[in-house]
């Protein structure tokens, strides 16, 4: 499983760490396990978390696969103009 990195704003909700060790094959599984293992992340998930897979940002696609060699980075879900 690839290392999952998180943005600074989420770190207090996971005990201050910059990375996570969660076994997940899809974005849905990752977010579900994130909330199960770190309940303080629930408000962040509710507000929206985007998942960057090798630099490509996915905001909505729960079914997206997480390749084992990919860089996974959790980001806040952003809006534009």
């Amino acid at each position: 499983m690839a290392e999952i990195k998180v943005w600074g704003g989420l770190r207090p909700a996971i005990g201050g760490a910059a990375t996570l060790d969660i076994e997940a094959s899809t974005i849905r599984e990752l977010l579900r396990k994130l909330e199960e293992q770190y309940p303080d992340t629930a408000p962040f998930i509710e507000a929206g978390i985007a998942v960057s897979i090798d630099g490509v940002i996915y905001r909505d696609s729960w079914g997206q696969k997480l390749p084992s060699s990919a860089e996974i980075y959790l980001l806040p879900r952003i809006e534009g103009g």
Partner: protein
């Protein structure tokens, strides 16, 4: 059929050409219908009563006299718009902004509304509404608002994102942080370190069409809304939630839009119009005046940004640090966070840290404005990079090329980049004739880079083939800049027919599935993806119908150049069937032919731009004129190059206005002093040179045609590009936007003292 959206590198016949837009004739002849053009039988006129105070408790509202006035059909206060979404803070904030409850939080905050038979009666009714206020201390300046003794907007506001959680309330609603490495180590490695504070004033998107809508609420609980909006499905969701309606019972029809730029992504008066219509049992039209648009819709943030950058003598940036304070109005948003994410995104930095603070102030609710929050952050970063380049005696383009992010660089906001275009835009700038053109007296040249994320989102598209073989394309993303032309080109490309045979329309909320709004530069990116797949689905059906007509297996049919062609020795002599010929036989081969697609268009590629600007500064008056301007930006693939250029030019024009003239000016009483285009001056044609553009095409690997969003990035570099040009022309570093004549004069005078 699978949603395969990977780039294939195909060549194009229609895409990349420049036909006239289908909405052009209606717009230039006045036939196009905008929000205020809708008329219904029995329609009432609505007006809103707004607070003259920046901050006050509402002690009482007496509407009795207004209600008795002849011709008044409904009077509305917050009591008519109760909170139907207990516990949803975001929806409550929207509701409170639409109609104040216990407190007014800015000059212009709505407190009551009337619907009457005409505007004269409505105005008279507003004067009869008596509101008793208890005035509270206010704060409108972002730096003043963060001070410990600043007046508090919300006594329950405890800063989020800080450990341990603060015990005292403040106006700092949220803290966010991004970055990697160790900035202190990085600064220790630098030969030069520059630290500065930069300020930008609040600006409005300046769309020419004010917010306007017509609401018609039926006693059976259904309703219709015609509105100028960037997202009619989002408006439907929010209005239905705020009014306690079933979503499917509210039909929202988008009108043409006279500019939005992020300002029409939020509801302002629409829930009020619907509630008035419900109360009056008549259709209600509500059109904001220009003054109301300035005072009570959503401008961008005012900011105060501290920047520190370290560099070595050979031009390597060793560390970057930014603290960004962004005004949010009275309700918390993501604005400083977006500034923090984008500030250093153009560069490959080993050590970077950005911290954003969302600050509540007594100003209207901040809203998205084209690449929201990025222009201010870029202004600060790009200004300091220019100063450092001068300090080490290196060309400013060269310094940026040396430090530019590339494929594999870790972005300052976190992830590693895929293929990106910042390097190519810089190299194109370096080679551009503008860069080496001679400057005149009192002229200066500046350049700057900018970044925006771009994104996709939920999208649904219907493609219907008429019996004569022409095609109707129904999309659910609002056309803000020529998308109907671009999407028609895409459909024509896929089907192999001419652009003139495709008619693209934006459907209402009952005629196509849910679509996210047109923001994040997603309109053409996402709807083109859905259109391509919808067209491919239609082609599958067309091939089946041709097989039926020929009485051959469908696997012997291919689609080429707008025709079904039979393949194989046995069938190769059959004459190709055109789309029109197949469509004509549709009644006998299975009925109507259509293609449909719904998807989440994720995988939008990030976008970069480099701008070059020449200005001339009058050293006696401080007046500045932009004499030459060039935009270089990566489009992935320019579907309709003219409208891509239009986006580049429009973003640059707005950025130039922001850089030189535009600002919200508040008096000591907390009231907006310049809510009109005479005193809030946006650039007009005579203020600007022809803005030159250069489109780069570095394909987005996650779009079938390589398309990237293009609408927003072009507003990111101008504040910095103009500031660098003015600073070079005036001989003094400009740190406060807008660089209006008095500010430039003051800076020149201060430098001479």
């Amino acid at each position: 059929m699978s949603n395969n959206t990977k780039f294939t590198g195909q060549s194009f016949k229609s895409v990349g050409t420049r036909p006239l837009r289908p909405d052009g004739l209606d717009k230039v002849t006045g036939r196009a219908r905008y929000g205020a053009d809708i008329q219904l039988p029995g329609q009432l006129t609505a007006l809103i009563l707004r607070s003259p105070h920046a901050h006050a408790t509402i002690k009482s509202i007496d509407t009795s006299k207004a209600e008795k006035l002849k011709g008044v059909k409904a009077v509305l206060t917050s009591a008519d718009l109760p909170d139907k979404n207990k516990g949803d803070q975001d929806l409550f904030d929207i509701l409170d902004n639409c109609m104040a409850r216990k407190k007014v939080l800015y000059d212009g905050h709505s407190v009551a509304a009337v619907a009457a038979i005409d505007a004269v009666t409505a105005r008279a009714a507003l004067k009869l509404i008596k509101v008793e206020y208890a005035i509270l201390p206010h704060v409108t300046d972002v730096d003043e608002a963060v001070k410990p003794k600043a007046p508090l907007l919300n006594r329950k506001c405890i800063t989020q994102g800080v450990e341990p959680t603060p015990k005292k309330a403040s106006n700092v609603a949220k803290r966010t942080e991004f970055g990697h490495g160790n900035t202190e180590t990085g600064f220790a490695e630098a030969d030069f370190v520059k630290e500065r504070n930069f300020k930008t004033e609040q600006t409005h998107q300046g769309y020419i069409e004010p917010h306007a809508c017509v609401a018609s609420y039926s006693p059976d609980g259904t309703a219709e809304l015609w509105v100028c909006t960037q997202g009619h499905f989002v408006f439907r969701q929010q209005c239905a939630a705020l009014l306690g309606m079933d979503v499917s019972k509210l039909r929202v029809t988008p009108t043409e839009i006279g500019g939005g730029f992020g300002g029409k992504t939020h509801v302002w008066a629409e829930p009020v119009a619907l509630a008035l219509s419900r109360k009056a049992n008549r259709p209600v039209k509500l059109v904001m005046s220009r003054e109301e648009v300035f005072r009570a819709s959503g401008p961008t943030s005012a900011t105060s940004i501290d920047i520190k950058i370290g560099i070595t003598k050979d031009g390597t940036i060793t560390a970057g640090d930014a603290t960004l304070r962004y005004s949010n109005g009275p309700y918390v948003g993501p604005w400083a966070m977006l500034g923090a994410m984008t500030a250093f995104a153009c560069y490959d930095l080993k050590n970077v840290r950005t911290v954003g603070y969302e600050v509540l102030v007594n100003r209207p609710k901040t809203t998205a404005y084209r690449a929201p929050s990025a222009p201010m952050a870029a202004f600060a970063v790009e200004s300091v990079i220019d100063e450092l380049a001068a300090e080490i005696g290196m060309d400013p383009v060269e310094v940026r090329i040396k430090n530019a992010a590339k494929e594999g660089s870790q972005s300052s906001y976190g992830p590693v980049y895929g293929p990106i275009g910042i390097g190519p835009t810089l190299e194109a700038a370096q080679k551009h004739p503008h860069m080496s053109a001679k400057l005149g007296k009192n002229q200066g040249r500046g350049m700057a880079c900018g970044f925006w994320f771009n994104f996709g989102g939920q999208t649904c598209t219907d493609l219907n083939i008429a019996p004569d073989g022409t095609v109707t394309l129904t999309v659910g993303t609002i056309d803000v800049g020529g998308a109907r032309a671009s999407l028609s080109l895409i459909a024509a490309e896929e089907l192999g027919i001419s652009y003139e045979d495709v008619k693209a329309v934006v459907g209402d909320t009952t005629s196509v599935g849910y679509n996210d709004m047109t923001d994040g530069s997603r309109g053409t990116f996402s709807s083109s993806m859905a259109t391509i797949i919808a067209a491919r689905n239609a082609i599958s059906i067309l091939k089946e119908r041709a097989a039926t007509m020929w009485e051959i297996p469908v696997d012997k049919v291919i689609w080429e150049e707008g025709h079904a062609k039979a393949t194989g020795k046995k069938h190769g002599n059959l004459a190709p069937l055109s789309l029109a010929e197949i469509a004509a036989e549709a009644p006998n081969t299975g009925g109507p032919i259509a293609g449909h697609n719904e998807l989440v268009a994720d995988g939008a590629g990030v976008s970069f731009a480099t701008h070059i600007c020449d200005v001339e500064v009058d050293r006696e008056t401080g007046r500045t004129k932009v004499v030459r301007y060039t935009v270089i930006q990566d489009a992935g693939k320019a579907v309709h190059p003219t409208y891509v250029e239009g986006q580049y030019q429009g973003g640059a024009a707005q950025g130039i206005g922001w850089a030189l003239n535009e600002e919200y000016i508040y008096g000591d009483d907390g009231r907006l002093q310049n809510p009109g285009f005479l005193d809030y001056r946006i650039p007009v044609c005579s203020d600007l040179p022809m803005i030159d553009t250069q489109i780069l095409e570095i394909p987005n690997p996650n779009h079938p045609y390589g398309v990237r969003g293009v609408g927003e990035t072009s507003i990111v570099p101008p504040l910095a590009a103009v500031a660098n040009a003015v600073s070079n022309a005036a001989g003094v570093r400009m740190t406060h936007v807008p660089m209006s004549a008095p500010r430039i004069l003051k800076a020149i005078d201060s430098a001479q003292d």
